[in-house]
């Protein structure tokens, strides 16, 4: 699938303030480094269970997070580390959760697939494909009801567009004109099966937009400036009562679907083509080309790395959660009692 820029907002990097562009860079670097670290920690057997890395999809998370207000809502999938970090959750709290430590976002109770940081607007990561789309619509309805001008953003994969909840959520959001953005990260694959093999249309999200009276939008999801601009426009529209948007971001995951997957099913040339379009490398080059000093970027990178190293050590040093915590917070009273 080649990148089309058909329906996306014009490329407007020059309109984006430098501070924002540096932030977009920093967010992408942070995600990139942290995801790589997560991978290293697997190899050291410090991350148990599964994990779905977003390496290669940094630009989507950075672009959205930079455009969102702090009180906007994010709803993520199991592949949600990038969005969680981008909204401001610390690397310590994310890595700690992957490692099942006390310092983790949910103290090990949720795990890699369920990152949640309400303080940062991350209203959960949902591991049932598509389940969070109606939930995001509900949060948007609540924002509309309460008149807060908050917007809910739901991030999901190409594969999620073929599940019933996608259809129901989009229709409801359109009928109720909800302030919600449905952002599809089309990375061309569900788990191991190409999305094109199981989908009736070429663009699994955008080609369905008309079913909900929405505009068709396909954008280059590896270009943080383009994502940022598209997100900003959709956020503005949502905040001003214009209803939902559906944005399909073309991107690619650099690693396998999950920890267990060596991703051998992908044609070598495809992988190579996409690695050439690495969002972090491209963005770095663009910043340099538009006059930002190499030293500035190197400084950001080394600061992120230093922070990451500290976070890694702190996470390793963090205790495992007390076994009693397995029995807490079933109920709002903090407990789990189902009887007297």
């Amino acid at each position: 699938m080649s990148l089309t820029r058909e329906a996306h907002p014009a490329h407007r990097s020059h309109e984006i303030p430098e501070a924002t562009r540096l932030r977009l860079f920093q967010l992408q670097v942070e995600i990139r480094y942290c995801e790589k670290r997560a991978y290293d920690l697997f190899l050291q057997n410090l991350v148990k269970g599964t994990s779905h890395l977003a390496l290669g999809q940094e630009a989507v998370a950075a672009g959205f997070a930079a455009a969102m207000n702090p009180d906007d809502y994010s709803f993520c999938t199991y592949r949600g580390h990038h969005h969680t970090l981008a909204r401001g959750a610390s690397m310590l709290s994310v890595l700690g959760e992957l490692m099942g430590r006390q310092c983790g976002l949910m103290k090990g109770k949720g795990g890699s697939m369920h990152l949640t940081s309400v303080a940062h607007g991350v209203m959960g990561s949902y591991a049932i494909v598509g389940a969070h789309l109606p939930i995001a619509a509900g949060a948007a309805w609540s924002a509309q009801y309460r008149g807060t001008k908050q917007v809910a953003c739901a991030f999901f994969g190409d594969g999620a567009t073929n599940i019933g909840a996608f259809h129901e959520a989009l229709n409801l959001a359109a009928v109720w004109k909800l302030p919600v953005i449905f952002c599809c990260e089309n990375n061309l694959y569900m788990e191991y099966t190409p999305i094109s093999a199981v989908t009736a249309v070429k663009n699994p999200a955008a080609d369905r937009a008309a079913s909900y009276g929405l505009e068709r939008q396909v954008i280059d999801g590896n270009d943080a400036d383009i994502v940022y601009s598209a997100a900003r426009d959709a956020l503005t529209k949502a905040r001003s009562g214009g209803g939902p948007s559906l944005i399909e971001c073309l991107t690619y995951r650099h690693s396998g679907h999950s920890r267990a997957d060596p991703a051998k099913y992908r044609p070598k040339e495809e992988l190579e083509e996409w690695l050439k379009r690495d969002p972090v490398t491209l963005y770095r080059a663009r910043l340099l080309a538009t006059g930002i000093a190499e030293a500035k970027l190197a400084q950001i990178e080394s600061e992120v790395m230093a922070k990451l190293d500290r976070a890694t050590e702190a996470a390793k040093a963090s205790p495992t959660p007390s076994l009693e915590s397995a029995m807490t917070d079933v109920w709002a009273d903090g407990g789990h009692a189902w009887r007297n």
């Binding site: 809502y73 709803f75 976002l105 949910m106 103290k107 109770k109 949720g110 369920h114 949640t116 940081s117 309400v118 209203m123 959960g124 949902y126 049932i128 389940a131 969070h132 789309l133 109606p134 939930i135 995001a136 619509a137 509900g138 949060a139 948007a140 309805w141 609540s142 924002a143 009801y145 309460r146 908050q150 809910a152 019933g164 909840a165 129901e168 959520a169 229709n171 409801l172 009928v175 109720w176 915590s325 807490t328 917070d329 079933v330 109920w331 709002a332 009273d333 903090g334 789990h336 009692a337 189902w338 009887r339 007297n340």
Partner: protein, 330 residues
């Protein structure tokens, strides 16, 4: 006290809570202008308007998903799933999302919401519109499960469910909707998690829920009048939280326990309660706990067939007698 039907009591509870708390919203299929297909939400659209009382498309996933998203961001949604059978269409939300999110988020997310649904047989609607599925909800950690048998409880327990900080699945029994009885006027809230002893008797303890409660009571009258058997009858009311204390105490008092369930036989709430009782007061039991249930078959549509499978007053009486006789003989 006013005479109110069970269906009007449901509407009265929602109105009471909507007046009290601006965060309470109601929605579902045909719940607004039409007042609900069971007329359990009549008058709410007129009183609270289209912002707070909404119609949805036929989208059960979206209904419960939206309820969940709204609940975690400050509203107190009351979502209607028209028939409890349709919980199957959105079971992912009930079992995987709503029930588990507080726990998975380590308490960061609260879900104060109510799923109201019309449950049970008696309307000759056939296998896909007549099920009793309280046990489905009971089997999932993280859900409170309530099923009132009287108009007063319909009002008081629904009000409590709406105020509860946790998700509650609230089963309204179709065959009870037209029943009228005294309902306290003014604010009425009945705490969740309390069983109600409706009748005291020394020989046997009968534990029932929802539409089986009036049948158990009638059976108790017959047993007393015709067979000299004196029965305690308990309305469980709330399966989660479960008032195990009352159930255990009343079971120990007679040592002869019967559960009366409308759901099909296997893995019903009766199995759970029977297991708890035999485990905790084994020595007080004078004989086995007997479950009176719908057999393990889907529900047939024809009236005679439906009546043949759902526990009836006559069957409760017969089962109790058969059990006591066989124990006496043994």
């Amino acid at each position: 006290m006013a005479q109110l039907s069970y269906r009007d009591a449901v509407a009265a509870a929602i109105a009471q809570e909507m007046r009290r708390d601006e965060r309470v919203v109601l929605f579902g299929e045909d719940t607004a202008a039409a007042g609900g297909v069971f007329k359990t939400t009549v008058g709410l659209f007129e009183e609270f308007g289209p912002r707070r009382v909404k119609d949805t498309p036929i989208s059960e996933l979206a209904i419960l998903g939206a309820a969940m998203g709204a609940a975690m961001t400050g509203l107190r949604p009351v979502a209607e799933i028209m028939f409890s059978d349709f919980l199957a269409c959105c079971w992912d939300y009930v079992a995987n999302e709503i029930a588990k999110t507080r726990y998975m988020s380590d308490g960061q997310i609260s879900l104060p919401l109510v799923i109201r649904t019309a449950n049970g047989a008696g309307s000759r609607f056939g296998a896909q519109h007549s099920q009793s599925v309280e046990n489905w909800a009971m089997s999932v950690p993280g859900l409170k499960v309530v099923a009132p048998s009287s108009p007063a409880d319909a009002k008081g327990l629904l009000a409590a469910a709406i105020r509860d900080p946790d998700p509650v699945v609230f089963f309204e029994h179709k065959s009870l909707l037209a029943n009228k009885a005294e309902v306290p006027e003014g604010e009425h809230v009945e705490p969740l998690g309390k069983a109600k002893v409706l009748r005291e008797g020394g020989d046997i303890t009968v534990i029932a829920l929802a539409a089986m409660v009036p049948r158990a009571l009638k059976a108790a009258e017959t047993l007393a009048a015709d067979h000299g058997i004196s029965a305690t009858v308990i309305d469980v009311r709330s399966l989660v939280p479960l008032d195990a204390k009352t159930l255990l105490a009343e079971s120990a008092r007679t040592g002869r326990v019967f559960t009366v369930e409308e759901n099909p036989r296997l893995c019903g709430w009766g199995a759970e309660i029977a297991s708890v009782i035999q485990e905790e007061i084994f020595d007080a039991l004078k004989g086995p706990i007997v479950r009176i249930t719908t057999p393990h078959v889907p529900l047939p549509a024809a009236d005679q067939l439906e009546d043949a499978v759902v526990p009836s007053v006559a069957r409760i009486v017969a089962e109790v007698r058969r059990t006591l006789d066989s124990r006496r003989a043994a």
